[in-house]
């Protein structure tokens, strides 16, 4: 998955586990950028009586670097508070929740937002309500109204939303982690010599994140509030047009679990336990022994991990798993060449001169942040392969909710993007075709019906209702929110 269970420690702490990060110029409000950070992976919608919620004991953050040093120039910090109306009932809701202030909403969360800019904190929102989880037609009728009522404008001008959403990320996780068996190409897999007749012919992918929910923290921020000089980014070639974004979650240094109290106590400074910028990095590129450490440090120190970006293990595996498919990649690997294309995409941003009319280079500091050139206008006909599909508004120029990041990164690692930095290199034909098979075409922005993305903030779809799933795992019906 993008980052759902990417490291041993954080996979045991889902409340603090970041799953996906998105950053894009808002298609319906192009003077703004939307940043979405998702947490709490793989939520079964039917999770009563204790439906999923943010951690009161977790410090969530969205960070923006606008000068290329890999250090946050702007951070938004989120702290949640849970209030229980009636502790003498086991019910999350004691009747239909008709409004976000409905007294039947028994276990509710609110949150505060503190904006740090150049190190100076300012509380820009407090007591902001979260909507309930989507339970079903009796408990949360007209869910769209509940979610819509939770969209708030901060005192500093940004839109904010925090609450449950339908998972928008899609991946054939079962196949990928069955030793790289990509179903559309499984007939080419070496199968380690095993006789597996069902792998003898291509098959469509299976989405492992179908019909689950996540918890979303979303911001819509004026572009002028993101640039280092307050200017409106209109020139694609200008360094100041690009930003780097990442999200973090932290816990306090000490947790005590006292006997006979049923609750723990935390104390001490906040310690980062989760980090996410570019999808799949810690999942696939960072080796097992470094995953938890990677989560604990900031992007300004990513030089120490650069070898794992420049010589990804998966790049070496592809020619082994698919012996006939990647001869050119195999030869490239054999030379021990550092993959400057991957370093640019994932660490520094893509310099000018690589892709005509485009750059999102933030500087030489190797920092895994999601780079977004804000001067690139939203695409009127988006391609889910982003830059690889000729759509400059998609990943790895930021990331939209529907971008097929698994296919994009598979193809990049398979060598497609290496040709951008070495004109003498010819990518293997398979490198341009490899996919986990979850989109019908490059213009499929529905992820084969995985979720109904919204056309406006917060863009991720209405969460799946517990009443419906799993018997009906079709996408949640389109709603205003």
């Amino acid at each position: 998955m993008s980052s759902h269970r990417e490291a041993p420690q954080i996979s045991k702490d889902p409340v603090a586990d970041s799953t996906d990060l998105y950053a894009f110029v808002s298609p319906d409000n192009p003077e703004t950028v939307t940043i979405i950070a998702n947490y709490i992976p793989l939520q079964p919608p039917a999770s009563g009586p204790n439906f999923h919620e943010f951690g009161d004991d977790v410090l969530y953050a969205i960070n923006i670097d606008n000068n290329g040093d890999g250090i946050a120039d702007i951070s938004y910090l989120f702290r949640f508070t849970t209030d229980i109306g009636n502790v003498n009932t086991f019910l999350y809701n004691t009747g239909p929740i008709q409004s976000i202030t409905d007294s039947h909403f028994n276990r509710r969360q609110t949150y505060s937002v503190t904006k740090y800019e150049r190190g100076l904190p300012k509380v820009v929102g407090s007591d902001i309500p979260c909507p309930p989880c989507n339970i079903g037609p009796l408990s949360t009728p007209n869910y769209g109204n509940l979610a819509g009522a939770a969209i708030t404008t901060l005192s500093s001008g940004e839109l904010v939303f925090a609450g449950q959403r339908a998972e928008g990320f899609y991946v054939d996780l079962g196949a990928i982690f069955d030793l790289g068996d990509l179903r559309p190409f499984e007939q080419l897999h070496n199968t380690f010599g095993l006789n597996v007749p069902e792998l003898a012919k291509p098959a469509p992918g299976l989405n492992a994140t179908k019909a689950v929910n996540v918890h979303t923290i979303a911001l819509q921020i004026p572009k002028t509030a993101l640039t280092s000089d307050g200017s409106n980014p209109t020139v694609v070639g200008a360094r100041s047009s690009s930003i780097g974004v990442w999200t973090t979650a932290s816990r306090q240094a000490v947790r005590m679990v006292a006997a006979n109290r049923g609750a723990g106590q935390d104390t001490g400074p906040w310690v980062q336990v989760s980090r996410l910028a570019n999808p799949l990095v810690n999942e696939v590129l960072i080796p097992m022994g470094l995953k938890d450490y990677w989560n604990s440090v900031g992007p300004s120190g990513d030089k120490q991990f650069a070898i794992h970006y420049a010589r990804p293990e998966l790049g070496d595996l592809l020619p082994l798993l698919y012996p006939s498919a990647f001869p050119n990649l195999n030869a490239l690997n054999g030379k021990g060449t550092a993959r400057a294309d991957l370093e640019a995409i994932l660490l520094t941003g893509i310099p000018a001169g690589i892709i005509p009319g485009f750059q999102n280079y933030l500087g030489p500091t190797q920092a895994d942040t999601l780079k977004l050139n804000m001067a690139v206008a939203p695409s009127s006909s988006p391609n889910n392969l982003g830059l690889l599909g000729g759509d400059l508004a998609g990943f790895p120029n930021g990331r939209r909710v529907f971008d097929d990041v698994v296919t994009i990164e598979l193809r990049a690692i398979a060598g497609v993007t290496y040709a951008l930095v070495d004109k003498s290199y010819t990518p293997d034909q398979a490198a341009g075709e490899v996919t986990d098979g979850l989109t019908s075409s490059a213009t499929d922005t529905t992820a084969m019906g995985t979720a109904n993305y919204l056309s406006r903030f917060p863009y991720l779809g209405t969460p799946y209702a517990g009443f419906d799933v799993p018997s009906d795992d079709s996408p949640a019906m389109a709603s205003t929110y």
Partner: protein
């Protein structure tokens, strides 16, 4: 750094708990400081962690802060408390 891994915790306003209970610890020097005054304004638990037995380096956690002190005598008293 020696990994002592020793945690001592105390609720706010009860700093004396840092030293463990009298029944568990060997003789403890008489504390002359007014602990109640010291504890006022401390919100939540106070936790001490001996980071390095050799140097007596102790992390003291409270609220959202960590204060590092180097006090071999305090470290020794804490260690005696758990002997």
């Amino acid at each position: 750094m020696a990994a002592a891994g020793l945690l001592a915790s105390a609720p706010a306003g009860a700093m004396s708990m840092l030293m463990g209970s009298a029944s568990e610890a060997p003789a403890i020097e008489e504390e002359t400081t007014n602990l109640a005054d010291l504890g006022s304004g401390v919100d939540g638990p106070v936790v001490a962690h001996i980071r390095d037995i050799g140097s007596g380096e102790i992390s003291v956690f409270t609220g959202e802060r960590e204060v590092v002190i180097r006090d071999p005598a305090v470290a020794a008293r804490l260690l005696r408390a758990v002997k």
